[in-house]
Amino acid sequence: MPVEPGVLGSFAEPAAAARAVRALRAGGFADVRVAMPAPFPEVVAAIGKPRSLIDFITFPGAIVGLLCGIALTVGTSLAWPLVTGGKPIVSVPPFVIVIFEVTVLIGSLTNLLAMSAGTWHGGRARFFPAHQKFNADRIGVFAVGGEPARAERLLRESGAEEVGRVG
C-alpha cells in the first residue's frame, strides 16, 4: 500500500526535530508524524498527542485476571472439596497468592495485546515512509497533506538535513 502523500524531513538532533514539528503544527499542518530511534521527550512533547489509552484495556484485563483467579480457586475447590488438616474448603489466605499471580499474568498478557493493537497502526507502511536511518541515528518528520512547498520551507528552516516529497 502506498504511503500517504506528504513531505519528509530528516533530522540529526531531537531539539531540531521538535522545532520542526512545532513549526509545522503552528503553520497549519494538522497531521505531523515522526519516526525516531528512541522516544525523545522533546519530540514527543512537540507532537502533543494525548497519552495512550491502553490503560483502559490493561486495567480491565487485570480485573478479569482477578475474577478468573477467584473463579479458579474457589470454583475448583468447591467442585472437588478436599478437606486437608481441617482447613476450610474456601481458604482465603492461600487463595490470595494464586489469585494475585493470575491477576498479574492476565493483566500482563492483556497489556501485551493492547500494545500490539496500538502499535499496529503506527507500524503500517502507509503511515510513514520506511527508511532504516530512522531506526538508527536520524529523526524523520513527515508532514502529511497541506501545501508541500510550505512544509519543505518549514522543515529546512528548522534545520533538516534532507527534505523530500513522498507519495
Binding site: 519516526a35 530511534p37 495512550s52 479458579l72 480457586t73 487463595f95 503506527g122 531506526n135
Partner: protein, 444 residues
C-alpha cells in the same frame, strides 16, 4: 569523546558477529555439563530417588537448594529492569538487558527442579489445573501449587518483558542485517518502525509491564520462602522468611550479574558502554542487600538464642553454628556478610577484580545459605531419633553442576541472538548527555 549513536549500534551489532573459538569452547563445555546433569537425572528417572542422599528425615537436599538458588538468581533481572525503571535509576540502561536475559534462563533452570523432585515426573502436568474426566482439581492450599503458579507467571511475564524491550533494538539491527539474521531480527522487531504512534503506546505499555513485574518479583521469592515458612519445622517456621528471601535473592542475582558482566564487557568489547560506574552502582546494590541479609541472619539467630534451652528453634540454630554443617554456615557468613562489607570502601568498589571476586563468593555463599536452610533444619528435628546427616551423592552434584551448564548454554546462545544492551534506551540517554554538553549525539 562521548559514544555516538552510530558507534553504539556498531558495537552492539559486533557482538553478534561470527563466534570465535573461545565461544564454541564455552558453549561445548556448557552443553557437556548440561548433558552430564541430564544423564544423571535419567538415572533417577530409571531407578528412583534412591540414587540421591535423601533419606528420612532429610526429604529435601541439593535439588531443592538448587531450585531456591536459581529462583534467587532470576530476581535481579526484574529488579534492575522493572524496579529501577520505576525509580528512574539511569545506571540500569547499560546493564538491564543482560540481567533480563539472565532472569529468563535462570527461571528456565529453576523450573526444572520441582519436576526433578517428583517421584513420577511424567505426571508433572498434574500440577496444573485442567478439566479432566475424574473431576479432580489441584489443592490450592498446597505451597507446591503456589510455586507452580508463581514460577510459571514469572517466566511468562519476564519473557514478555524481555522481548518487548528487544523489539526497537531488533528493528535497528534488522535494517543492516542480511540472511537469517535479518529474518530473526524482523521477527523480534514485531513490525517495529519507531513512529511516534508506536512509541506512544509502547512507552505506556512498558510502564505497565514494569508495574506488574515489580510486585511479581517480590511475590515469587516470598512464595518460595513460604514453601518452608508454612511448615512447623524449627529453622523454617518464621515470619521473617519472605523479606529475608527476597533480599537474599536480589543479593545473589545482582552478584551473578556482576560475575557475568565483568568478563562479558571485555569479551564483547562493551567497555565503553558498560563502564566501571555501572559496576560500582551494582556493587552498591550488593552491599545494600548484603546488609539486609546480615540483619536477617542476626535477627533469626538472636531470636532463637533468646529462647529457653529446651526450645527446638534454639537447638536448631546452635546445631547450624556448631554442628556437622558448621563450616558451611561460617563460610556462608564470610561470603554473604564479611565479603560484601568490603564494598563500603570506594577503593574496593572501583577495583573490578575485587568486586568480581566478592560477587563470586556471594554466589557461593548464597548457595550455601539455601543449603543451610534446607538441610540443617531437616537434619536436626525436635527429637534425637530423627537426626541424620545428609550428604549429597555424585548424582545430585552432577545435577547441580549440570544446571550451571544448562543456564550458561542458553545464555551463550541468547548472547548471539539478542542485543546485550538496550540500544534505544542508550540512544535516549546519549542524546540527553550530548544536548547537555553541547555535542551532537549522532556524530560518528
Amino acid at each position: 569523546m562521548s559514544l555516538s549513536f552510530e558507534r553504539l549500534q556498531a558495537t552492539v551489532r559486533a557482538t553478534h558477529g561470527r563466534p570465535g573459538r573461545g565461544y564454541w569452547i564455552l558453549l561445548s563445555l556448557s552443553a557437556a555439563l548440561a548433558a552430564w546433569g541430564g544423564w544423571a537425572y535419567s538415572l533417577i528417572v530409571r531407578n528412583g530417588l534412591v540414587l540421591t542422599g535423601l533419606e528420612r528425615p532429610g526429604g529435601w537436599g541439593n535439588l531443592i537448594t538448587d531450585f531456591v538458588f536459581w529462583v534467587g538468581i532470576a530476581h535481579s533481572g526484574t529488579l534492575i529492569s522493572a524496579i529501577l525503571f520505576l525509580f528512574r535509576a539511569k545506571f540500569r540502561t547499560a546493564v538491564y538487558r543482560v540481567a533480563e536475559m539472565m532472569t529468563v534462563f535462570a527461571v528456565m533452570t529453576a523450573g526444572l527442579y520441582p519436576i526433578f523432585h517428583l517421584g513420577r515426573p511424567w505426571f508433572a502436568y498434574w500440577l496444573f489445573p485442567y478439566p479432566n474426566e475424574r473431576g479432580i482439581w489441584v489443592n490450592f492450599r498446597s505451597p507446591l501449587i503456589w510455586d507452580v503458579f508463581a514460577i510459571s507467571t514469572y517466566f511468562i511475564v519476564s519473557t514478555v518483558f524481555l522481548l518487548v524491550g528487544v523489539a526497537p533494538d531488533a528493528a535497528a539491527l534488522r535494517d543492516g542485517a542480511t540472511g537469517w539474521r535479518r529474518k530473526l531480527y524482523g521477527l523480534l522487531a514485531f513490525g517495529w518502525r519507531g513512529t511516534d504512534e508506536q512509541w506512544r503506546h509502547y512507552t505506556r505499555a512498558y510502564l505497565f509491564f514494569a508495574a506488574f513485574a515489580t510486585p511479581l518479583v517480590v511475590s515469587v521469592h516470598s512464595v518460595v520462602s513460604w514453601d518452608f515458612a508454612v511448615s512447623i519445622l524449627p529453622g523454617w517456621h518464621s515470619t521473617l522468611f519472605p523479606p529475608y528471601f527476597v533480599a537474599g535473592a536480589i543479593l545473589s542475582g545482582v552478584a551473578m550479574v556482576i560475575v557475568i558482566l565483568v568478563p562479558l564487557r571485555r569479551w564483547l568489547h562493551l567497555e565503553e558502554i558498560i563502564t566501571p560506574h555501572h559496576l560500582d552502582m551494582l556493587s552498591r546494590l550488593v552491599l545494600l542487600t548484603s546488609l539486609i541479609v546480615t540483619y536477617s541472619y542476626s535477627t533469626e539467630i538472636l531470636t532463637a538464642l533468646g529462647e529457653p534451652a529446651s526450645d527446638p528453634e534454639r537447638s536448631t540454630f546452635l546445631y547450624r553454628m556448631t554442628g556437622d554443617y558448621a563450616p558451611l554456615f561460617w563460610l556462608m557468613v564470610t561470603c554473604n556478610c564479611v565479603g560484601p562489607a568490603l564494598l563500603l570502601s570506594g577503593k574496593v568498589r572501583r577495583s573490578i577484580p575485587a568486586i568480581f571476586a566478592i560477587s563470586l563468593l556471594v554466589n557461593v555463599g548464597m548457595w550455601l545459605e539455601r543449603f543451610n536452610i534446607v538441610v540443617t533444619s531437616l537434619a536436626h528435628d525436635r527429637l534425637p531419633f530423627d537426626w541424620r546427616v545428609y550428604t549429597p551423592t555424585w548424582v545430585e552434584w552432577a545435577m547441580t553442576f549440570g544446571a550451571f551448564g544448562w543456564f550458561f548454554f542458553w545464555f551463550l546462545v541468547g548472547l548471539k541472538v539478542l542485543p546485550p544492551v538496550s540500544i534505544a534506551e542508550m540512544k535516549e540517554d546519549l542524546a540527553h548527555a550530548a544536548h547537555a554538553s553541547g555535542e551532537v549525539a549522532h556524530a560518528g
